[in-house]
C-alpha cells in the first residue's frame, strides 16, 4: 500500500560531510515528502545518523544545500531546526536522567511556552496557567503512548523499552512537522517492536507527521516505509520504494557481500 504523500518538504542536494580526513557523507541527494515515512538504511558506519544530524543542524555539511519547504537553508543551529518543527530521538537514549517522565516530556513543549523566568519565579498567575495548559497537551501524548502509570517516575529507573517510548513522547510533545527517529526499535523484543511500529504508524496517520526513520530491522523497514534510501560508506547506493530497494543488486551486495 502506498499512502498519499504530499510535496517535497526536505530536499537534500549533494551533501558532503567530513570530519578531518574522514568522509562521513559523500555527495548525497535525496528528498523527503510531506506525510511519508522515509527510511534510511545501511550497514553500520554508513552515515545514517550523520544524515539525521545534518537535517537537524547538529552537523554542518561542508558542501551541498538543504532546502526546507522550498527555501534554501543557511548554516543552522539545532534550535533553529526545532523552531522549524523538526524533532528527533537518538540512537543512544538521550533522556534527561535526573528528571521524571512528565518533566522530560514537558521539556518538549519548551518552544511553545512564552512566560519568562521572572514569571516562573512568581509562578502564580500566567506561569501556572501556561503550565497547566501544556500539561493537558502532554497528558494527551502520555495517554497516546500508554505510559500513564510511569509519569512521575524518574526516567533513570525505567527499562530500556519504556525509555525509548518516553523519548518518542518528548519528541511528539513538540508537535513536530518532521520527526527524525534514530533506531527507535534497537534492542527491543518482538512485542515492544510491534508496539513501537503501531505508535509510529499512528503518529503518521493521526497527526500527518512526516517521519524519517533509521532502522536495522529490515522486516519493519520494508513493512512501514513509503520510500527507502540506502547508504553505504557515506554514499547513496539505492533509493526508491521498498520493493525496488530490496531487489537492487548494490544493496544486496552491501548487506550480504559479493562473491569474488
Amino acid at each position: 500500500m502506498v499512502r498519499q504523500s504530499g510535496d517535497v518538504i526536505v530536499d537534500l542536494r549533494n551533501i558532503s560531510l567530513r570530519f578531518g580526513g574522514v568522509k562521513a557523507l559523500t555527495d548525497i541527494s535525496f528528498d523527503v515528502r510531506e506525510h511519508e515515512i522515509r527510511s534510511i538504511i545501511g550497514p553500520n558506519g554508513a552515515g545514517k545518523s550523520s544524515m539525521l544530524n545534518v537535517i537537524n543542524g547538529v552537523y554542518h555539511p561542508q558542501e551541498g544545500q538543504i532546502h526546507f519547504r522550498g527555501q534554501l537553508r543557511r548554516r543552522m543551529e539545532p534550535h533553529h531546526a526545532a523552531e522549524q518543527g523538526i524533532a528527533r530521538t537518538f540512537q543512544n537514549i538521550a533522556l534527561f536522567k535526573g528528571m521524571t517522565v512528565l518533566d522530560n516530556i514537558m521539556t518538549g513543549r519548551a518552544l511553545k511556552m512564552r512566560c519568562n523566568f521572572l514569571q516562573h519565579a512568581f509562578y502564580w498567575g500566567a506561569a501556572q496557567r501556561e503550565e497547566s495548559a501544556h500539561r493537558l497537551k502532554v497528558e494527551e501524548i502520555i495517554e497516546f503512548l500508554e505510559i500513564q502509570s510511569i509519569r512521575k517516575t524518574p526516567v533513570g529507573r525505567l527499562p530500556y523499552g519504556l525509555q525509548k517510548r518516553v523519548e518518542l513522547a518528548r519528541a511528539l510533545a513538540a508537535e513536530p512537522h518532521i520527526l527524525l527517529l534514530d533506531e527507535p526499535m534497537a534492542g527491543m523484543n518482538v512485542e515492544e517492536k510491534q508496539d513501537m511500529c503501531r505508535f509510529i504508524l499512528d503518529v503518521n496517520d493521526h497527526y500527518g507527521t512526516t517521519i524519517v526513520l533509521i532502522e536495522h530491522d529490515m522486516g519493519v523497514v520494508m513493512d512501514i516505509s513509503d520510500r527507502v534510501v540506502v547508504l553505504d560508506y557515506g554514499r547513496k547506493i539505492g533509493d526508491g520504494l521498498p520493493d525496488e530497494v530490496k531487489g537492487n543488486p548494490e544493496v544486496i551486495a552491501a548487506y550480504l557481500g559479493t562473491a569474488h
Binding site: 534550535h79 537518538f90 512566560c115 503550565e131
Partner: protein, 355 residues
C-alpha cells in the same frame, strides 16, 4: 499512620503541581514557618539568634544560589564566596553613595550587581565543562577579591580594607537588635527560597536540568545553551550576592574582601554536597549541618573527654570527626540529606504496614 494521603484527590493540574501535594506536608511546613518566623525570634536567646540561626539562613541562601548553578544547571563553580563579596560591597557602596537608598532596594541592586559579574564569569561555561569550568570560576574567586582589595574605592578608602556595614532601617524602623535582624533575614530568605523553588519546578528549571543532563538533546529540543547557562549564572550569582549583603548587614557587621575567600566557597560547596545536590531543601539542611556540627563538636568533645586531651588535640579531634562525618554521609547517601529525608517520607507513607 498519620502520614497518609488517602482521600486526598488532585483534580486539576494546578493541584498536582503544588510544591507540597500532600496535606500533611503543607501543615507541617506552615508550622515550620511559624516556628522559625514567629516563635524563634520571641523565644530564642541572643547567642542562638546571632551566632547560629542567622548565619544558617544566610548560608542557606548562598547554598541555594550555588545549587541552582551546580545542582540544577550542572555548572560546577568555586566562586560563590566571590559573588557574595560582590553583593556585600555593592550593597555597602549603594547605601554609602546614594542618599536615602532604601535597604531592600540596595539588597536587590547588590544581587543584580553580583548577577552581572556572574554572567561575565559564566561566559567560559559556553566553551568548557566540569573541572575545567571549576578552574575558570576559581579565577573569578581570586580576581574579584583582588579587585576589591586593589581599588580602595570599594571599601571607601578604609585604611584596613575593612568596612563597617551601615545601620539597617526600613521605613524608619531600625533593625538593630538580633531579633529584628533575624526576622529580616528570615523574611528575605523565605521569599527568595520560594522564588527559587518556583523557578526550578517550572520551565526555567526544566531547561537548566535538561542542559545539565544531556546538552545535545536539550539543544535539539530547542533550548539555547548560551541563554540557559548564562541565566543560571545570573540567578545563582544574584542569590549569592544577596546572601553576601545579608552576611555583611545582618550577620557580622564588618567585612573585608579577604573574608570571602576560597574557604568560604568550599564551605558552600560542601553544604550543597551534604545537603543534596539539586534540592532547595537540601541547601537548608546542608547549611544547618555545616554550621551546627562544629558548634556541636565544640561542646561535645570537652564534655566527653574533659581536659584530658589538651586544647590543641581537642580542636584537631573536632576537625577529624567533622571530616569523618562528611565522608560517612557521602558514602551512605551520596545524594545528601535531602535524599535521606525523601526516603524517610516514602517509608513513612507505608508505615506501619510496609507490605
Amino acid at each position: 499512620m498519620l502520614y497518609r494521603e488517602a482521600g486526598q484527590f488532585r483534580t486539576s493540574y494546578a493541584e498536582d503541581g503544588r510544591i507540597f501535594p500532600i496535606r500533611q506536608d503543607r501543615v507541617g511546613f506552615a508550622l515550620l514557618v511559624l516556628v522559625f518566623g514567629v516563635a524563634v525570634p520571641l523565644l530564642a536567646n541572643e547567642y542562638w539568634l546571632k551566632a547560629i540561626l542567622t548565619p544558617v539562613l544566610i548560608f542557606s541562601l548562598a547554598a541555594i544560589g550555588l545549587n541552582i548553578l551546580t545542582g540544577y544547571a550542572g555548572q560546577l563553580s568555586l566562586g560563590s564566596a566571590a559573588f557574595m563579596a560582590v553583593g556585600a560591597f555593592a550593597a555597602y557602596n549603594f547605601i554609602l553613595r546614594v542618599d536615602g537608598m532604601p535597604f531592600l532596594l540596595a539588597l536587590a541592586l547588590a544581587g543584580l550587581a553580583a548577577a552581572l559579574v556572574g554572567v561575565l564569569f559564566g561566559l567560559p561555561s559556553l566553551r568548557i565543562k566540569g573541572f575545567y569550568l571549576a578552574v575558570a570560576t576559581l579565577a573569578a574567586q581570586f580576581f574579584i577579591v583582588w579587585v576589591l582589595v586593589k581599588f580602595p574605592w570599594f571599601s571607601n578608602h578604609s585604611s584596613s580594607g575593612v568596612v563597617t556595614a551601615q545601620e539597617v532601617s526600613i521605613l524608619g524602623y531600625r533593625f538593630a537588635s538580633p531579633e529584628a535582624k533575624y526576622v529580616l533575614t528570615f523574611a528575605v530568605v523565605a521569599v527568595l527560597a520560594l522564588a527559587a523553588k518556583n523557578l526550578v519546578r517550572s520551565a526555567t528549571g526544566r531547561a537548566w536540568m535538561a542542559v545539565r543532563d544531556m546538552d545535545v538533546a536539550a539543544q535539539v529540543i530547542g533550548f539555547r545553551l548560551m541563554r540557559t547557562k548564562l541565566l543560571a549564572f545570573a540567578v545563582s550569582s544574584f542569590y549569592c550576592g544577596v546572601a553576601g549583603a545579608l552576611y555583611a548587614y545582618t550577620y557580622i557587621g564588618t567585612v573585608e574582601p579577604e573574608g570571602f575567600n576560597l574557604d568560604l566557597s568550599f564551605k558552600i560547596l560542601f553544604m550543597i554536597i551534604i545537603g543534596g545536590v539539586g534540592s532547595i531543601m537540601g541547601a537548608f539542611l546542608g547549611a544547618a549541618f555545616i554550621v551546627l556540627l562544629p558548634i556541636l563538636l565544640d561542646n561535645l568533645v570537652p564534655a566527653l573527654f574533659g581536659d584530658a586531651l589538651g586544647a590543641g588535640f581537642a580542636s584537631n579531634l573536632q576537625l577529624i570527626i567533622f571530616g569523618g562525618l562528611i565522608i560517612f554521609f557521602l558514602i551512605v547517601e551520596p545524594h545528601g540529606l535531602a535524599r535521606l529525608w525523601q526516603i524517610a517520607k516514602e517509608k513513612l507513607r507505608l508505615w506501619p504496614f510496609p507490605h
